[in-house]
Amino acid sequence: MNPLAQVLVDGIFTGASYALMAAGLALILGVVKVVNLSHGAFFTLGAYVAYVLESRGLGNPLAAVLMAAVIAFAFGVFLCKSFINPVRSHPFSVAVGSLGFAILFEQAAQMLWGPHTLSIDLGAPVAVVDGVTLRRWGVISFLVSLGLLGGLSLLLSRPWGLPLKLIAEDEEIAGSVGMDVEKIRYLTFGAASSVAAIAGALLAPAATITPTMGRVPLILSLIVVIASGMEKVWNIFFLAVGLGLLSNVSAYLFAPHWSYVLLLAVICLLLVFRPKGLAAAGPARDY
């Protein structure tokens, strides 16, 4: 029995799912060119979908993932079409509006399922190596995350992903060579949202499910996106795993809420000391 080794293993599993979420946020920043503060709400949505399925007796993680992905995709496209895209050029509206959507969702979840914490049965472990338990959800979430990130990395390196890269580079040129920029924007936002929901559904058994659970992964993803960029998918992966480890270990050593404070401190330090590193990832226009 080595509790710290267990914490490290779980941290890697958690971090892999966070990487999925961060990759989605990075795609939104790159293609839609907004800082989307509602990304955490989709994570929460995924977790609640998993919870509802579990409580109805459908405790299959893959069913939860599929369902969460579909619902979040629809929500994401709707949000982008009805709100984010029209107000895209106003940074105030984007920041406050996307935060508003997140808060709207948090309050709706609180009214539907109550403010108390919910949980999902962890399931039987896959294997026990040297006293360290490899949990079923952990292995599944790690494999799914790795698969999806690999797919994204492949997409961005093939001709198929060219529209995404071109729009991230220069929208006007992308439009002038006949790409439907708006449609790609909606699809990207929807896909990124569904990826966040997948991360939420995968992590639901490991986490305590509350209406505000999406805030921690949102801050973590923001850190990753600020420090990395859209195209280097594996940078995102390693950064997210590192931060997942950091937050798990600090939660283990101190108390769970200190890991959130620590992440907030990291993002503050990053913003204060590397304001130039952000400009490259931020919106191209000077507002």
Binding site: V35, F92, A95, G97, L99, I103, M111, C268, L278
Partner: protein, 326 residues
């Protein structure tokens, strides 16, 4: 570029203040009196957001940090250290102003969305920190801090809802006057230029970092004043005073009332706060309604309700019958 913003509003304001002055005489019960009192303080808080977020264009999503600093200082200084309330109030004002200086200094080099991120993170960090703190408890009687809160000892035996009402109303009028003075001053003009375009403000020789910091300091002092008033009226400081929901509320009032108009956010707060608080909607539903109103306003009135209508009217006037506001 912008029309004179404060044209006819002061006359309307005076009339409104007159109505509010007479309202308690029309037989208001204590509950509504309380709601209106807190509404006045919320209006000051909303106006203080507009100083930094509207006038100076620095999107602050952690404004509750300044409010909470003031309420917590009042509570800790009076209950734990036994200071008299007026002294604690002064110290609370200083502390929240200092918090404003700190946040302003940190965020001055940043732009647009990143100011929002930094202030959001700072506010959340403060909230999370105070949510977990119960070590203020004196001699283990019961646990202080967190969501249970810390009592504020006012020490004024003749304090009543009526006095609170009129004091808060006077405070609101005073603060509105101060904020309008700031907005119309040369500094206010510089802040407006800053929110228009940082680049051109810098080109005309403005020290933009200093002015961003200054805007945060002024806004934090006013938000702190509102916090002191809140602590006095409610008699308790809780971790909710730092919450993201409270920061978000300020931005909502500003967006609905029209950013940068000072009077708009104050009126929006005066209208919405009592309306939602006075009718028995549960807290979650209240915040949900705020978020809905905000999203609709941002989507269909990007410059605030008053601002967008004014812009459309102007566009129609200029373009004759052809202009359709787009």
């Amino acid at each position: 570029m912008k029309p004179p913003r404060f044209g006819k509003i002061p006359g309307v304001l005076v009339a409104g203040a007159g109505i509010l002055l007479l309202l308690p005489l029309a037989g208001l019960d204590v509950f509504l009196l309380d709601v209106l009192t807190i509404g006045f303080l919320t209006a000051v808080y909303a106006g203080s957001w507009d100083i930094v977020g509207g006038l100076a264009g620095q999107i602050s999503l952690g404004h509750a940090l300044f409010f909470g600093t003031a309420t917590y200082s009042c509570a800790l200084l009076t209950s734990l250290l036994g200071w008299p309330f007026p002294l604690a109030a002064g110290a609370a004002l200083l502390l929240s102003t200092a918090a404003g200086a700190a946040v302003g200094t940190l965020s001055a080099p940043l732009k647009g969305p990143f100011v929002a991120l930094l202030t959001l993170a700072l506010g959340e960090a403060a909230h999370e920190f105070f949510l977990g703190q119960t070590f203020f408890s004196p001699r283990g009687a019961y646990s202080w801090g967190g969501e249970g809160g810390i009592p504020v000892l006012l020490g004024i035996p003749w304090f009543s809802p009526w006095i609170a009402y009129y004091a808060a109303l006077a405070f609101l009028l005073l603060c509105t006057w101060i904020m309008l003075r700031i907005a119309r001053s040369e500094t206010g003009l510089i802040w407006t230029a800053l929110s228009g375009s940082e680049l051109s403000a810098r080109a005309s020789g403005v020290d933009i970092r200093r002015h961003k910091r200054l805007a945060f300091v002024a806004a934090a002092a006013l938000a702190g004043a509102a916090g002191v008033g809140f602590a006095a009226c409610v008699g308790r400081a809780t971790a909710d005073d730092f919450s993201l929901e409270l920061s978000f509320q300020a931005a909502t009032f500003a967006a609905v009332g029209g950013r940068g108009t000072i009077v708009g956010p104050i009126l929006a707060a005066l209208l919405f706060y009592p309306l939602l608080q006075g009718t028995g909607i549960p807290p979650a539903g209240r915040v949900l309604l705020y978020a809905l109103v905000l999203l609709f306003t941002l989507r269909f009135f990007p410059a605030g309700v008053a601002g967008t209508l004014r812009e459309r009217a102007r566009a129609r006037r200029m373009a004759g019958r052809k202009g359709d506001g787009r």
